[in-house]
């Protein structure tokens, strides 16, 4: 497993959100690359950030392209702008009923919930 995969698995298992930050210049690097975009150094510290952000956009998915069991169809998945890392986004599942009530750019709180037995980043509204 790559370090990226190891670190992301730790997030899922521990219910936290840590993203890679350059140990030298403190620039966030998301998604990770082996060399810092800011200073060229190669040491990263996966640093904890709040489980909160704003809603960038969403789609309700009627055909599952993941090759994995996503539970009942259709489901809604969104991209969340993270509060702790300007410019970084993560996908998260919407657990509410009606995505058409969602307001883009509004604040959301993220939680890990079990979907088909696996922890997944989710939000309610």
């Amino acid at each position: 497993m790559s370090n990226f995969e190891v670190q992301w698995q730790k997030n899922l298992e521990e219910g936290v959100l840590r993203l890679p930050q350059c140990g030298a210049c403190k620039q966030w690097n998301w998604y990770p690359l082996p060399v810092c975009r800011g200073c060229g150094k190669t040491d990263f510290i996966w640093t904890e950030i709040p489980l909160s952000g704003t809603l960038f956009s969403w789609t309700r998915v009627h055909r599952n392209f993941t090759g994995q069991d996503m539970g009942p169809m259709p489901y809604t998945v969104a991209l969340i702008n993270l509060d702790g890392v300007p410019g970084a986004r993560v996908p998260a599942r919407f657990m509410g009923e009606n995505p058409l009530s969602l307001q883009l750019d509004h604040s959301v709180n993220l939680v890990y919930q079990q979907i088909q037995g696996k922890p997944v980043l989710c939000f309610n509204s």
Partner: protein, 388 residues
């Protein structure tokens, strides 16, 4: 400096399933292109292809013996997929135009109609998509553009019905153009009622908002005009440019700060227009990479054909029809003709400029813009008819 022109074009027209390999389709297309150019395989001095799919599906070492390419001095591979197919054509013009070779060949083929995985498999292999995105249910190109469409709606204040109407107008225009092209995979139009009956894939995108899947191939021969033996009206490249964001491919559709804008398309088209000494309003037809209906709107706005937010009105006016005010994808595009990842768009530009696009000809077409990549990267090519 010698002048470079298109001397021959060959196609295996797209079909849903050919039962043949991409290599067989490509060999057929090369033979047709050489025949139209009145050249033999031994005349070809350079072969240029896109790098990611072609190196897997139809590498030069296997194509050469099948297509009789025995005297090639130079092989080049360009950037991946659509922007690279267009970049390969432009590089062929540059190589011939600089006097490096007399005749250059570009080929592209795909058998994603027959083989599983296709575009979804292409994206699924990227690291962040495997580790972060797919486990959260975020996978497949329709989601990338569904997200972009929803963001576009928000930025421009469209209602659900206005968004739906805009997307339908794009699909309707592609299908209308396809209906007038006997070689298009889709031969029927698409009423609003029929559109609304189609299944959702990733809202607001329905099945018909998403590219077709196809088997097909294209080959194009570029020759020095003084050595060309082709009998068709010559077509030259008036200007071209490539541009990109310094973002990994795996990042763009989730991490790009500019979504749903396409800055690489904005910059590359601006440079191509400047190189050709033309403006958007001078172009007689546009062939744009319509992987999804919303991608057409995003490109029309990035290219300066209309200002951001006005794509909806432009489409609703019927402008995108081959006989409209801004003809787009006159062959039917990826939504109506077939999924040849932009190679079909280049061929259509050539046919329009030769005035041989029977049934869908843009009246007296002199210049055609072809653009592909819509994402991290973008290639913009402006072709021009050369009167003899």
């Amino acid at each position: 400096m010698p002048k470079a022109i298109v001397s021959g074009v060959g196609e295996f027209h797209p079909v849903r399933k050919s039962g043949q390999s991409a290599e067989a389709l490509i060999t057929h297309a090369i033979s047709a292109a050489l025949s139209e150019a009145n050249l033999g395989g031994d005349d070809i001095g350079a072969v240029i292809t896109e790098s990611s799919l072609t190196s897997q599906m139809a590498p030069f070492d296997r194509i050469a013996p099948m297509a009789g390419l025995n005297r090639v001095q130079l092989t080049l591979q360009t950037t991946p997929v659509g922007a690279g197919i267009l970049g390969a054509v432009a590089t062929a013009f540059d190589l011939v135009g600089s006097g490096k070779v007399n005749h250059a060949l570009v080929y592209f083929g795909v058998d994603w109609g027959t083989t599983p995985n296709g575009p979804t498999g292409y994206h699924a292999g990227m690291e962040a998509k495997k580790i972060v995105e797919a486990p959260a249910g975020f996978a497949g190109p329709p989601l990338y553009f569904g997200i972009a469409a929803r963001r576009y709606q928000h930025l421009h204040g469209l209602t659900e019905l206005q968004l739906q109407d805009m997307l339908w107008h794009v699909v309707e225009a592609m299908r209308f153009n396809a209906q007038h092209n006997p070689h298009a995979q889709k031969q029927d139009g698409l009423s609003k009622e029929a559109y609304l009956d189609k299944p959702m894939i990733a809202e607001p995108l329905r099945s018909v908002d998403c590219s077709l899947l196809s088997d097909g191939a294209v080959a194009i021969v570029i020759s020095r005009s003084d050595l060309s033996k082709g009998q068709c009206c010559p077509v030259e490249l008036a200007g071209w440019a490539y541009d990109y964001e310094p973002l990994p491919d795996m990042d763009f559709y989730t991490q790009s700060p500019w979504l749903p804008d396409l800055p690489a398309a904005r910059r590359s088209s601006g440079k191509a227009f400047a190189a050709a000494g033309l403006r958007p309003e001078d172009i007689d037809a546009y062939q744009l990479y319509d992987c999804f209906s919303i991608a057409v709107i995003m490109q029309l706005e990035a290219l300066g054909v209309c200002v951001p937010g006005q794509g909806r009105e432009l489409c609703a006016s019927g402008a995108l029809h081959f006989n409209g005010s801004v003809p787009v994808n006159t062959h039917g595009g990826l939504l109506g003709h077939g999924y040849l990842l932009g190679a079909g768009h280049v061929v259509e530009a050539i046919r329009q400029l030769r005035h041989e696009a029977i049934g869908r000809q843009v009246e007296n077409a002199q210049t055609v813009f072809v653009g592909a990549g819509p994402g991290r990267q973008y290639s913009s090519l402006i072709f021009r008819r050369v009167e003899r």
